[in-house]
C-alpha cells in the first residue's frame, strides 16, 4: 500500500476526477462571468461579482439558507432520535422479525411521492402545516427514517458482542449500555449517518417545492425561481446554483473522511 503507484495511474485518476467534476467547474466559473461572456466557453475573462449582486438583490438568500439548515438539521436530529432506539432494539434483541421489519421500513421509501402528493397536501393544509418549517421537518424525518434505522442498525451490529456481554454481566442496564458503550463505539458511524441524512434533506426538491412557498422555503425553492434560463441570464443562473450547492458541498468536503469511512451500510465486514 505504501509504495507509489506508477505515474499513469495518477494521470488516469486525475483525468477521471476532472471529467467528473467538469460540470460543477463550469457553473463555478460561469457564475463569475458577465452575461455576455456566459455563452462562450472561454476560460479567459474578467471575473465579476455582478451576478451575485443581482441574485442577492432579488432573493433573500439568507432566509432560504437558514430554512435549508433548520429543515435538514432538524429533520436529521429527529430521525436519529427515533431511529437509534429502534436500531438498538433490532440489533440487540434479534428476532425473526428483525430482518422483515427492516426491509418493510425500507419499502416505505419506495412509495412514489407524486402519487401521494395530494393526500399529503390536504393533510398538511388541514393541520396548518403548509409553508411551515415544522411541516417540512416532519416530512423529511419520515422519508429519511428508514435509512437512519438501517444505517444505525449496521453500526450497532459491528460492535463486538463480547464487550456488551461483559457489561451485562456487570449488571449494566440497557440504558447505560446504550449510553456508555454503544454510542461511543458507533459514534463515527452515526456521524456519517447524520451527514448522509443532511445531504438528502438538503437536496430534496419535491416536497419542499410543493409544500412551502415563502416562510419555510429552502434553497430548492430558491433555485426554482431561477430554473428556466430567463432571457439572457445564464450567469445569474450559475451564481444562484453555486449559492445553492456551495454550503452542502463545503460541508461534504470538510466531512468527507467521515463519509469515506462510514458509508458501509453493513457491507464491510
Amino acid at each position: 500500500m505504501n509504495e507509489k503507484a506508477p505515474i499513469w495511474v495518477g494521470v488516469l485518476g486525475w483525468a477521471v476526477a476532472l471529467v467528473i467534476f467538469m460540470p460543477i467547474f463550469i457553473i463555478a466559473i460561469t457564475a463569475f462571468k458577465t452575461e455576455q461572456d456566459a455563452y462562450s466557453l472561454t476560460l479567459f475573462f474578467t471575473p465579476t461579482l455582478q451576478s451575485f449582486h443581482e441574485v442577492f438583490e432579488r432573493s433573500h438568500y439568507l432566509s432560504f439558507v437558514s430554512n435549508s439548515v433548520i429543515v435538514s438539521f432538524g429533520s436529521t436530529f429527529l430521525s436519529l432520535a427515533i431511529a437509534v432506539p429502534a436500531a438498538y432494539s433490532l440489533a440487540f434483541f434479534p428476532g425473526k422479525r428483525a430482518q422483515k421489519t427492516l426491509l418493510w421500513m425500507l419499502s416505505t421509501k419506495m412509495m412514489p411521492a407524486v402519487g401521494v402528493l395530494i393526500p399529503i397536501y390536504l393533510l398538511a393544509k388541514n393541520a396548518g402545516l403548509l409553508d411551515s418549517v415544522t411541516g417540512l421537518v416532519i416530512i423529511y424525518t419520515l422519508i429519511n427514517l428508514p435509512i437512519a434505522v438501517w444505517m444505525a442498525f449496521t453500526y450497532f451490529n459491528e460492535v463486538p458482542k463480547e464487550i456488551l456481554e461483559a457489561a451485562r454481566i456487570d449488571g449494566a442496564s440497557a440504558w447505560q449500555e446504550m449510553l456508555h458503550l454503544l454510542l461511543p463505539t458507533s459514534l463515527p458511524g452515526l456521524a456519517s449517518t447524520a451527514l448522509l441524512l443532511v445531504i438528502l434533506s438538503w437536496n430534496e426538491a419535491f416536497w419542499s417545492l410543493n409544500l412551502s412557498s415563502s416562510n419555510a422555503a429552502p434553497l430548492t425553492v430558491f433555485i426554482a425561481s431561477y430554473s428556466n434560463p430567463e432571457g439572457l441570464f445564464w450567469a445569474k443562473l450559475s451564481a444562484a446554483s453555486l449559492l445553492a450547492v456551495a454550503p452542502i458541498l463545503c460541508l461534504g468536503w470538510i466531512a468527507q473522511k467521515q463519509l469515506v469511512r462510514g458509508m458501509t451500510f453493513g457491507a464491510v465486514k
Binding site: 432573493s59 439568507l62 412557498s213 430554473s227 432571457g231
Partner: protein
C-alpha cells in the same frame, strides 16, 4: 482540509451581505420572467409608501407556478394572496367563484386598460384580474440578413413566404439558422404557436358538438408546415426551446426570423441585453389560408383568490403594480422601451414610448385585433385563440403538445402524432362528459 474550510468560510462571509426576509402580509406567487423581476425590484417603493403592507414573493418558473397556484386555489389553501395567472385561467376560475371581483379606485382609470384585454379578464361585466402585461404574436426578422440576400419581408407574410425566406437565410455553417420557433412541449409553449397555425390554416380544436377535430386535413397542413420549417431550418435542440430560449438565440444573433410574443420586442430593442437591437425588424404573424386567429392573445395578470386573508392589501398592490404610475417608474428605471406593454392606451399615446419603441403602434394593433371570439374559419363552441377556455383544455393541450414535439424530433410522424392526439383528446372529452 483546512484550506477547504477556509474557502467555505470566506465565501460564506462574502455572501452574508444579503438581509433577512421580513414578516409579510401579502404573499405573491409570480413567474420568473424579466418583467415580474423588475416589479419585484420596484415594489420596495410600494412598501415604503405603504408601511402597513409587506410583500412576500414566491417567484417560480411557469410550469411550477401554474401547478402551485392551481393546487392552492382548488383546495382553498390560502397560501397566496395574489396570484399571477393568465388569460386562460382567469375566466374559468372566476366562473367557479374562486376569484374576488376587483374593486378599483377611480384613479386607476380602468377604461384606460385596452378593451380586448379588459374583456378577456372579465366575467359578466366584472373585472377579476388586472393585466400586468399583455401580448399578441408577431414576426421578428433580421433586416441586415434580409438586405444582404436582397429579400424583402412583406407586412403580412404567409407561411409560404416564411418557408422560402427560412430556406434562403439558413446558414448553419456560420451558426445562423433560418428560423426559430417554439418547440418545447406545453399548451402555453409550442401549442400557442401551433394553435394559431391551425386557426389560420382553417382548422379548429372542436366542432360544434365538442368532437375533437385534430385528425382533419387542416391540422395536418398546419402541423406539417410547422414540423418541416422548424425541422429543416431551425436551430439544433429546437424541441427544447420555449420563449426564453428563443429570446436568447435571436438576441445573440443566431436566428434570421422568429415568430413569437410581442413582449419580446422591448427586450430585443434593448441594446444592453440584445446584440441585434439595431438590426431587428418586424412584421405581422404569418397567415396560412385565412387571416383568422393567426396571432394569439395572452395576458399575465394579477388576481386575488377568494381564499386570501388579506384581500384589501392584495388588491391595493395589484392596482399599484398595473397602474400608470408603475409604468412611469419602469420607464425611469429601465427606459421606455422596457415598460410593461399591451395594457394601457395611455402608454401607447405617450410620445416618449412611441419614440423609444418603434414597434408600439404595430403591437397595439396586433393586440386589439386578436379576437378570442372569432378566431376560426368554422364555427366553434369555445372562446379562445390558441386555447379553448374550458378546464379540460390544459390537459388536452399538454398531451397534444407532447405529441407535436415528438413529431418535431422525428420520433414519430405527423400522421401518427395527430392520430394519437385525436384519440387521447376524444378520451378526455368523453371522460369529462362532453361526448357520450
Amino acid at each position: 482540509m483546512k484550506r477547504n474550510a477556509m474557502i467555505c468560510a470566506v465565501s460564506a462571509a462574502t455572501f452574508a451581505a444579503a438581509g433577512f426576509a421580513s414578516a409579510a402580509t401579502v404573499t405573491i406567487a409570480t413567474i420568473n420572467n424579466p418583467d415580474m423581476i423588475e416589479l419585484q425590484k420596484l415594489s420596495k417603493q410600494f412598501e415604503a409608501a405603504n408601511p402597513d403592507i409587506q410583500l412576500k414573493w414566491v417567484t417560480l418558473e411557469e410550469n411550477v407556478l401554474r401547478q402551485r397556484v392551481t393546487t392552492d386555489i382548488a383546495t382553498g389553501s390560502g397560501q397566496f394572496d395574489l396570484m399571477t395567472i393568465g388569460a386562460y385561467e382567469t375566466p374559468i376560475w372566476a366562473k367557479k367563484g374562486w376569484l374576488t371581483p376587483l374593486n378599483l379606485p377611480a384613479s386607476y382609470d380602468v377604461n384606460d386598460v385596452i378593451k380586448p384585454v379588459r374583456d378577456g379578464l372579465s366575467l359578466n361585466g366584472k373585472l377579476y384580474a388586472v393585466p400586468f402585461y399583455s401580448e399578441s404574436s408577431m414576426t421578428y426578422y433580421r433586416k441586415d440578413l434580409f438586405d444582404a440576400k436582397g429579400l424583402k419581408m412583406p407586412d403580412q407574410p404567409t407561411w409560404n413566404d416564411i418557408n422560402g425566406f427560412a430556406e434562403k437565410l439558413n446558414d448553419k455553417a456560420n451558426g445562423v439558422y433560418g428560423i426559430c420557433l417554439r418547440g418545447q412541449a406545453g399548451w402555453g409553449e409550442n401549442m400557442a404557436l401551433v394553435g394559431t397555425m391551425v386557426n389560420t390554416f382553417g382548422g379548429r380544436w372542436f366542432d360544434q358538438q365538442w368532437k375533437p377535430t385534430i385528425d382533419t386535413p387542416e391540422w395536418k397542413k398546419a402541423v406539417t408546415t410547422y414540423v418541416d420549417i422548424l425541422g429543416k431550418y431551425g436551430p439544433p435542440g429546437a424541441s427544447a426551446n420555449g420563449f426564453n430560449e428563443n429570446l436568447v438565440l435571436f438576441g445573440s444573433g443566431k436566428c434570421a426570423m422568429w415568430i413569437d410574443a410581442t413582449v419580446a420586442a422591448g427586450m430585443l430593442y434593448n441594446g444592453k441585453e440584445s446584440k441585434v437591437a439595431d438590426k431587428v425588424a418586424f412584421a405581422q404573424a404569418p397567415i396560412g389560408t385565412s387571416p383568422k386567429g393567426a396571432h394569439w392573445q395572452w395576458m399575465w395578470s394579477l388576481a386575488v383568490p377568494k381564499s386570501s386573508k388579506n384581500q384589501d392589501a392584495a388588491q391595493k398592490f395589484a392596482a399599484w403594480a398595473t397602474s400608470k404610475e408603475y409604468i412611469q417608474l419602469v420607464a425611469k428605471d429601465l427606459g421606455w422601451a422596457s415598460v410593461p406593454s399591451g395594457t394601457r392606451e395611455s402608454t401607447y399615446a405617450n410620445p416618449e414610448y412611441q419614440k423609444a419603441a418603434p414597434f408600439a403602434g404595430f403591437v397595439l394593433n396586433a393586440i386589439k385585433t386578436a379576437s378570442p371570439t372569432d378566431a376560426t374559419v368554422q364555427k366553434v363552441p369555445y372562446i379562445g385563440i390558441q386555447f379553448a377556455t374550458i378546464p379540460e383544455f390544459q390537459s388536452i393541450g399538454t398531451v397534444v403538445g407532447q405529441q407535436v414535439a415528438g413529431a418535431l424530433t422525428g420520433k414519430s410522424t405527423v400522421d401518427a402524432a395527430l392520430k394519437a392526439s385525436q384519440a387521447s383528446t376524444e378520451r378526455a372529452m368523453r371522460q369529462a362528459g362532453y361526448l357520450k
